[in-house]
């Protein structure tokens, strides 16, 4: 159950190394911010139209997990050690879904499961060494069987469009940066990260990109 995945110290997760204390990459902060905003908007929207749409049914949990999106992404990053670019690519998948199935909303009941599934597929596609579904399931607080189901569901929903061209990747990075700045959110600048650096997200991450 997702709700079981606490946001402080995790349940026994067997990882090859202990997680490091390093601050999570900025991309996590940005994406969780953007996702939180999206969820908030959609929750409101869902109330107006009284429904979430059907396409994302496979990702619904019984209730919304207590862990915040930010903490959830940090947790995924910390334990799976996937490359930061996976979060951008995972975000691209969610964005593609949103465009392809405009009637189906990303809301608090499905956002966590969507994220873990998207990041896992992105990592499978992107990282030379990556954890298997079983591990992602444990990190994500879902059952292995559920995660497998969601993986397939997502692949078919995306029509197997899981490639993100370098150009698309780059423009998503810029888009994410802009979202962050547009909102006058200064958290990206909190860690003494100058604007210039913040705009270089694409170039920082792109080195991971072939």
């Amino acid at each position: 159950m997702l709700t079981a995945a606490g946001d402080d110290e995790p349940d026994p997760i067997v990882g090859p190394e202990l997680p490091t204390e390093a601050t999570p990459p900025r991309v996590l902060t940005i994406i969780s911010h953007v996702m939180e905003k999206l969820v908030a908007r959609n929750e409101w929207l869902a109330k107006q139209i009284k429904g979430f749409g059907k396409s994302l049914e496979a990702f619904y949990g019984v209730r919304a997990p207590s862990i915040s999106i930010a903490k959830y992404l940090e947790r995924i990053y910390k334990y799976t050690k996937c490359s930061p670019a996976c979060f951008v690519v995972g975000y691209v998948y969610i964005d593609r879904l949103a465009h392809k199935y405009p009637g189906s909303l990303v809301v608090s009941l499905n956002v966590h499961r969507l994220l873990v599934t998207c990041v896992m597929i992105a990592s499978k596609m992107l990282d030379d060494v990556h954890y298997n579904n079983e591990f992602y399931a444990r990190v994500g607080g879902v059952s292995n069987a559920d995660l497998n189901k969601m993986e397939l569901e997502l692949l078919f929903l995306l029509d197997f469009r899981v490639t993100v061209s370098y150009r698309a990747f780059e423009s998503y990075c810029f888009h994410l940066e802009k979202e962050m700045l547009k909102n006058g959110d200064v958290s990206s600048l909190k860690n003494n990260q100058p604007m210039q650096e913040s705009l270089s997200l694409a170039s920082t991450l792109s080195s991971l990109y072939v």
């Binding site: 896992m120 992107l126 298997n132 292995n144 497998n148 899981v162 061209s165 370098y166 990109y209």
Partner: protein, 509 residues
């Protein structure tokens, strides 16, 4: 489907949304392949009667989820559309036992499995070449080579590296068309070769020196080395570089192509494994000497393919412009090629087993009753029983890039102990030209031309296990290299020359 106006029939067939149809739309005719990772069936689409190949994607391994190999193959094949590249028609699902009564697309709709639907192909190049008694003519070899290069050029223009070019992955139908198949190891690449890619790809015998020396940045030239090996194999009637392990493979390459040094291959001494593998003494390049029986143009082209330095190796596009394809005898029209009885390894293996048993029984009988020799069954090379079809990979599951190289898995994956050396005539023209000397000098007509090693390449380290297989059943092989990169721009790299030759490539107008 769009609604038809009243009184009219809407005969327009919408392309089915992938994954929306059930495998029940097909009637399985017979299994044509079997591997550790899945089965391949010949099947008939019930509605249209069309024959297709269904490749089941196995998902027994719950821990791994959907095989990454399959994801890659699907996404790459989705963007490639060319007459010399196998066509993935759609993906169908099997609801399995958990289907609810209405067949509702619930969460369990994939429970029973996922199938990739391919156009059906009758043969693969290795199987065809190994058909006893079968000899390819020169125009036929040219025809296959040209199609291979055309298909590969298309992949490269679309920034896809195949990474497992070998005879058993080149499918041939009864109309003489050749198509590249098994894109399970394929990946996109970017032009600047900045990627950090795994070098554990390509079946050992067809693996280029740069990968064997540990390169992790590479490009389309890797596929061209494999093409060179296949080309020579077609002309030479047996695999030319049958190494048993990576070290031996490199030695064989150096014995044929000379030892690399900074002059002929700038940068080679900086390759990761150069110092481990460099030959003890300098070796001379002997391609011309080894293959002196080939005709001049064939040899000239081969020389340009089997170049150690990948940056100097000929590209698919330039190879298509080689004199070889434009001098007599010209490549024949695929349609003019003879058709061969279709058979697939899965079936023929059974037949062969039966035949072997009969033969052994006959031998025993012969020992007891020597006079009954005449009762022996025809030898194995009896026509029609030999075709080898795709063989299915059985590689290690989910290796990582760091996995240690594996010991090649035995000499042959292809024939499962099928005796070599048919007494019949050689399969290939005695040489690339009319001289014919070579095979005879090897006793070709009398003792057969098969190498001891057998044909299926040894498998090789790495991601890919014994693989092959036309429809490439397998997820096993996937390497985990990153996927991203240019997503394709077809049309890029168009041949700028307007010569009539270009039109031969067909796809790039």
């Amino acid at each position: 489907m769009a609604a038809a106006a009243f009184g009219q029939l809407n005969l327009e067939e919408p392309t089915p949304v992938w994954g929306s149809r059930s495998v029940d739309c097909f009637e399985k005719l017979e299994q044509i392949g079997e591997g550790t990772y899945g089965q391949v069936y010949m099947a008939k689409e019930i509605k249209t009667g069309e024959i297709v190949a269904l490749k089941k994607i196995r998902m027994d391994n719950e821990r791994e989820g959907f095989p990454i190999t399959a994801i890659r193959e699907i996404k790459i094949l989705k963007k490639l559309h060319h007459e010399n590249v196998i066509q993935l028609r759609e993906i169908v699902t099997s609801p399995g036992r958990d289907r609810d009564d209405q067949g509702r697309p619930d969460n369990n709709k994939y429970k029973g499995g996922i199938y990739m639907v391919f156009e059906y192909m009758d043969h693969d190049l290795t199987g065809l070449a190994d058909r006893p008694g079968l000899r390819f003519t020169v125009p036929q070899i040219k025809c296959y080579m040209k199609q291979l290069l055309t298909g590969l050029h298309y992949c490269h223009v679309n920034q896809v590296l195949h990474r497992d070019i070998k005879g058993s992955n080149l499918l041939i139908d009864n109309e003489g068309n050749l198509k590249l198949a098994d894109f399970g190891l394929a990946r996109s690449y970017s032009n600047d070769h900045t990627g950090n890619l795994t070098n554990r790809v390509i079946t050992l015998w067809y693996r280029p020196p740069e990968l064997l020396l540990g390169a992790t940045k590479y490009g389309p030239a890797i596929d061209m080395w494999s093409v060179g090996c296949i080309f020579a194999e077609l002309l030479h009637a047996k695999p030319i570089l049958p190494g048993k392990n990576e070290h031996e493979q490199l030695n064989k390459i150096f014995e044929l192509c000379g030892s690399p040094d900074e002059n002929i291959w700038p940068g080679v001494s900086k390759m990761p494994w150069y110092n481990n593998f460099k030959p003890a003494r300098p070796l001379k390049r002997r391609v011309r000497e080894f293959f002196r029986h080939f005709d001049r143009h064939a040899l000239e082209l081969l020389e340009k393919m089997l170049v150690l330095d990948p940056s100097q190796r000929i590209s698919a596009k330039d190879a298509l412009d080689a004199e070889y394809f434009w001098t007599d005898p010209l490549p024949c029209d695929p349609k003019s090629l003879p058709t061969y009885e279709s058979s697939h390894e899965f079936q023929t293996k059974k037949k062969r087993q039966q035949q072997r048993q009969n033969e052994e029984a006959a031998k025993r009988q012969k020992l007891q009753h020597p006079q009954q020799q005449h009762s022996r069954l025809p030898p194995l090379q009896h026509s029609g029983q030999s075709h080898a079809a795709p063989h299915w990979p059985a590689g290690p599951n989910h290796p990582t890039n760091n996995a240690p190289p594996q010991v090649p898995a035995g000499p042959s994956h292809h024939f499962y102990g099928k005796p070599r050396g048919p007494p019949g005539p050689n399969r290939y023209p005695p040489s690339g030209n009319q001289s014919g000397g070579y095979n005879q000098s090897r006793g070709g007509y009398s003792s057969g031309s098969y190498p001891q090693q057998g044909r299926g390449a040894p498998y090789v380290a790495g991601p890919r296990g014994p693989s092959g297989g036309a429809y490439g059943v397998g997820p096993p092989n996937y390497t985990q290299g990153g996927q991203y990169g240019g997503s394709g721009g077809s049309g890029r790299g168009q041949n700028p020359m307007g010569s009539s030759r270009n039109q031969q490539y067909g796809w790039q107008q």
